[in-house]
């Protein structure tokens, strides 16, 4: 098969010896000046290219080979163009040269070849230092502006200038900027409106007829020439016009970058040269800016014509995007154009916004609006609504629209977050992009999600993130149904109450609202839904779908992002609402085992961090917590969460929450834990570890929590000691391994001993924060000192 052949060819080429390479090079140099050996030359050049391309190490070619080949490259003979291109390609493979490598040593040819336009690209590839760019820039500007220079030369010089300006913005001087800009404005406006004569046939008897170019719809051209004018053949000035428009935006971008770098340099030295910059800049680009606007308006008009050839419709699309970008940039350079340009852009927007297929252009119009809305009395919310509500819903699965939207949001994150309601209102719609392309946009959404969060949306977004695999699955199902039967998406038909697969579920009256919920457009319609579990069940056949799987792998990353924002920014009231949600959601997840494990781990982890920061939540949510901790049913399936909660009760409950925590609340909590302890140890003590529904860790954590609570209320101490003693006794049986048994019994004994010394117990089991942190090893009340002392008292023999 083709792929194995590729590997074989590469291997062969790799094994070429230096001697063979040398022979090949010599053969090439012999043949390059001999027109009769053209076919041999081609074969040899192809071979040399392959050898160089495949080589892993730096290829070794004879010393004089590069300069001599460089001398041969400028052959602009059209009949030998293939050889020229091959030579160029080989040189590119060897690039960058050291300066001594590329200089011809006999010196005779250097003057002529150095300024060859076909080599300008090679100089760009040499990079800033080696390419002697500033020298060639001057030459290129000269070619650009001189009369009678070959079109090909001018084109190469022009592209060279734009390319260097993009890559190394500080290389082009202001004078050069001005000269090139003036040349461009003349090319933009002064192209002829007549077609070029047919180049292939020459009829001396026929009088030359000048046919005018036409518009894309076939009508005669009405105004000056642009890229959207059709002719059978094009004259040089028309081609230059096309090149100029193609480079215009990137050249103008240069102006923006130029101001920025200049500013950063001058800002540090002098007072306020910003104004001065602007004046210089306006001078440089003034005529080009004016003509760009005229040209752009004309292109906008031409884009309204219906093209005769479908590929021209694609060109129109590209032209619209380009035009909006140019106009946007022009307004940034000179604000005085904004009102006039805005009228035109608005007119175009109102035409294009009717059709959702134009989403890709509309997003550029939105960028224009974002950049200039402060200068205009214009409310952009309607256009945001149109795009994020209507257009995105239809085209989130289009890779181009998805990419542009994400790019747009990232670029304008601050604006969208503080000046509009886009992120908080349409986040379900935006999340669809992520759900559909889970592989592509993870890092982008790690930045976007924090901006989406607000006190009103945070909770809904939390649910939406956890349910993201459901969203992906729903979108897949809807997509699938559309393919099978396009009519069935309109309204549910079946009354099947227990559909067995996801497609049937979509058709069922019972489940359709859930599909609608997960693919909703706007936020604010509630956070979660009833019967989520049964919805997970019907979507089970999608659990192995690659899109759903990948989506389930990215949710943990984003959930961490969500939690870290919440932990940093939120207040206890929100956490108070969040706690019951966590209790519920930790076991209510789409059924992909790895996904469930990951999310449970993250929730348990952040539970501790949140409760540590906001211990008062225990008091506000006391009943919820007690209800959750009553009985063993909540341990199964969420053991980590459960043990972490118990541990947090022991560690943080009523410790710092001060007055609001009345003694009876501690008693209430203690009683709950005590009952739970008896129940739990009843189960673990009577079941072999392998069959037990939960691990022995639960028992251990419960013991600690009980002791900690008791250390805060001395009247509970006797009960706690009794409880711990009983638990230890229960575990003295044959069901547990000796090691485990030992650990539990020792733990119980230690805690009992500690509780017998109430003053010590309260310090050790509930140390104040500063006791833990400060370097108080000299202080007799420090935790370390107390520990040492207590250890001597309760374990004097060790």
């Amino acid at each position: 098969m083709a792929l194995s052949m590729i590997e074989k060819l590469f291997q062969q080429a790799k094994n070429t010896t230096p001697e063979e390479i040398e022979k090949l090079c010599n053969g090439i140099l012999d043949a390059v000046y001999n027109p009769d050996q053209s076919s041999e030359l081609t074969v040899q050049l192809r071979q040399l290219y392959l050898v160089l391309y495949a080589s892993q190490t730096e290829p070794s070619v004879p010393v004089q080979f590069i300069p001599r080949l460089l001398a041969a490259v400028p052959l602009t003979d059209k009949s030998r163009i293939k050889e020229c291109l091959l030579c160029r390609r080989i040189l590119m493979e060897l690039i960058p040269f050291h300066s001594d490598e590329s200089a011809p040593q006999d010196g005779s040819e250097s003057k002529q070849t150095d300024t060859e336009p076909s080599k300008l690209l090679l100089h760009v590839l040499q990079g800033k230092q080696l390419g002697c760019l500033s020298k060639h820039l001057a030459q290129a500007v000269c070619w650009l502006t001189s009369a009678g220079v070959d079109l090909d030369m001018q084109r190469r010089a022009f592209f060279f200038l734009v390319s260097v300006s993009l890559l190394h913005s500080n290389q082009v001087s202001t004078d050069q900027l001005k000269t090139v800009s003036d040349q461009m404005s003349s090319w933009l406006m002064n192209a002829s409106l007549c077609q070029a004569p047919v180049p292939y046939t020459f009829n001396p008897f026929k009088k030359d007829q000048n046919y005018p170019v036409t518009e894309v719809d076939g009508n005669p051209a009405t105004n000056f020439f642009t890229v959207l004018n059709i002719g059978q053949y094009y004259t040089n000035d028309q081609l230059l016009n096309i090149y100029t428009f193609s480079m215009l935006y990137q050249w103008l971008c240069q102006a923006c970058r130029y101001t920025r770098t200049e500013k950063s340099i001058t800002d540090t030295t002098e007072g306020n040269p910003q104004q001065l910059d602007k004046i210089i800049l306006r001078k440089i680009f003034d005529s080009l800016v004016g003509r760009s606007i005229d040209y752009a308006f004309r292109v906008l008009d031409q884009c309204e014509r219906k093209p005769k050839i479908p590929t021209d419709a694609e060109l129109q699309m590209a032209c619209l995007v380009e035009t909006v970008n140019i106009l946007d940039l022009v307004c940034q350079l000179d604000e005085s154009h904004i009102p006039r340009v805005f009228q035109e852009v608005k007119r175009m927007y109102s035409k294009l916004s009717q059709d959702p297929a134009n989403a890709r252009i509309i997003i550029h119009v939105l960028q224009f609006t974002v950049n200039h809305c402060t200068a205009l009395p214009y409310d952009a919310s309607e256009s945001f609504k149109l795009f994020f509500h209507k257009m995105l819903t239809r085209s989130f699965s289009n890779p181009a629209v998805a990419f542009e939207t994400v790019l747009f949001i990232r670029k304008n994150l601050e604006f969208l977050c503080y000046e509009t309601n886009v992120l908080s209102a349409y986040f379900p719609s935006i999340l669809k992009i992520l759900a559909w392309n889970p592989r592509s946009f993870v890092s982008d959404f790690c930045e976007i999600i924090p901006a989406m969060l607000s006190p009103t949306t945070a909770m809904e977004i939390f649910h939406a993130l956890l349910d993201l695999p459901c969203m992906t699955a729903s979108l897949e199902v809807i997509d699938k149904v559309k393919v099978i039967d396009p009519t069935s998406t309109t309204s549910p038909t079946s009354v099947d109450l227990e559909p067995t697969n996801s497609v049937d579920a979509f058709k069922s009256l019972l489940f359709r609202p859930m599909f609608n919920f997960f693919t909703r457009v706007e936020g604010g319609h509630g956070d979660t839904i009833n019967r989520l579990e049964s919805f997970h069940a019907v979507l089970q056949d999608m659990a192995n779908h690659p899109r759903v799987l990948v989506c389930s792998q990215i949710v943990p990353v984003l959930t961490r992002v969500w939690f870290s924002v919440i932990l940093e920014k939120t207040h206890s009231e929100f956490v108070s609402h969040l706690l019951p949600v966590l209790m519920e959601r930790t076991n209510l997840l789409f059924r992909i085992p790895e996904f469930q494990d990951d999310i449970k781990k993250i929730i348990s982890e952040y539970l501790l961090l949140l409760l540590k920061k906001f211990p008062e939540v225990f008091v506000t949510q006391l009943n919820e917590v007690i209800e959750f901790l009553t009985g063993t049913r909540n341990i199964i399936g969420k053991e980590d969460f459960f043990t972490n909660l118990v541990w947090a009760v022991g560690e943080y409950f009523c410790l710092t929450s001060g007055e609001s925590c009345a003694p009876e609340k501690i008693c209430q909590m203690y009683e709950c834990l005590e009952v739970l302890s008896y129940e739990v140890s009843g189960i673990t003590a009577s079941t072999p570890a392998a069959e037990a529904p939960f691990s022995i860790k639960v028992v251990s954590v419960l013991m600690s929590a009980i002791a900690k609570l008791a250390s805060r209320r001395q009247d509970l101490t006797p009960r706690a000691i009794l409880c711990l003693t009983k638990m230890a006794q229960q575990h003295q049986n044959d069901f547990l391994e000796k090691d485990t048994q030992g650990i539990l019994i020792n733990r119980a004994q230690e805690l009992i001993n500690l509780l017998k010394l109430p003053n010590f117990a309260s310090v050790i089991l509930g140390p104040k924060q500063q006791l833990k942190n400060q370097r108080v090893h000299r202080d007799s009340t420090s935790l370390a000192a107390v520990m040492r002392g207590t250890h001597r008292l309760i374990a004097p023999n060790t």
Binding site: A2, L3, M5, I6, L9, F10, L45, R46, Y49, L50, Y53, E58, I81, E83, L85, L86, R88, R89, P96, H98, S99, L120, L125, G127, K128, Q129, L130, R155, R156, F159, S163, L166, L167, H168, V227, L228, Q232, Y233, I242, Y243, S246, M247, Q250, T311, D312, E314, L315, M317, A318, E322, N325, R360, A400, F403, E404, R439, S440, D444, P546, V550
Partner: protein
């Protein structure tokens, strides 16, 4: 402007770059001496291209996994009626330093076993890039049979260069209407025949 054009294999197995053409060179670190810089540049340039290609490769893998079409079907379409298969289209944002010095955007099209990627400057028009990439692929298939015989890419590299020299001159994306394209196609035909 386009910074690089890449042709590479897609599936199966590791990604192999069949052809690449650079159109620029970022500013490099000034502190190194010339000799060091040149040898390093060659190596990093290749590594950067490979990194972009393998990112496209892995995106394509995912697209294939979720699509209903297999690679074999694509190749079958080509063999049977010589029509171009439906291409997967994608965009990748290459952040500053990963792997290029400036932020760039890769526009890629892939079908069957072959992928085509344009690494564009951030300011480049991506609608136009997509149109021109399609055009280049059509010409490469017509003159080099690139989709069915990918090895031709490096065996007949002059033809690939010729196509690029017409439709991506010096790495610039041009606004070409159907007559401009037709003119270039005609020119290309005569040049390739010679």
């Amino acid at each position: 402007m386009v910074y690089a054009f890449i042709i590479h294999t897609l599936l199966p197995g590791p990604c192999r770059v069949l052809f690449y053409q650079m159109y620029g060179q970022d500013d490099e670190c000034d502190s190194k001496n010339e000799l060091q810089r040149t040898s390093e540049l060659k190596a990093t340039r290749k590594a950067q291209i490979e990194q972009v290609a393998s990112q496209v490769h892995s995106e394509y893998q995912f697209r294939r996994a979720v699509a209903n079409r297999t690679v074999e079907e694509d190749i079958q379409t080509l063999a049977n009626d010589d029509t171009l298969p439906e291409f997967e289209l994608g965009f990748i944002r290459l952040l500053e330093g990963e792997p290029f010095e400036q932020t760039r955007i890769a526009v890629w099209l892939g079908a069957g076993n072959t992928g085509f990627t344009l690494v564009c400057h951030e300011t480049e028009n991506r609608v136009l890039a997509e149109n021109i990439l399609k055009l280049i692929i059509r010409c490469l298939q017509e003159h080099v049979r690139i989709l069915s015989q990918p090895a031709e890419t490096f065996l007949k590299v002059d033809k690939v260069c010729l196509v690029l020299s017409r439709f991506l001159p010096e790495g610039s994306l041009l606004f070409m209407n159907h007559r401009v394209i037709r003119g270039l196609e005609k020119e290309l035909e005569t040049l390739i025949k010679n």
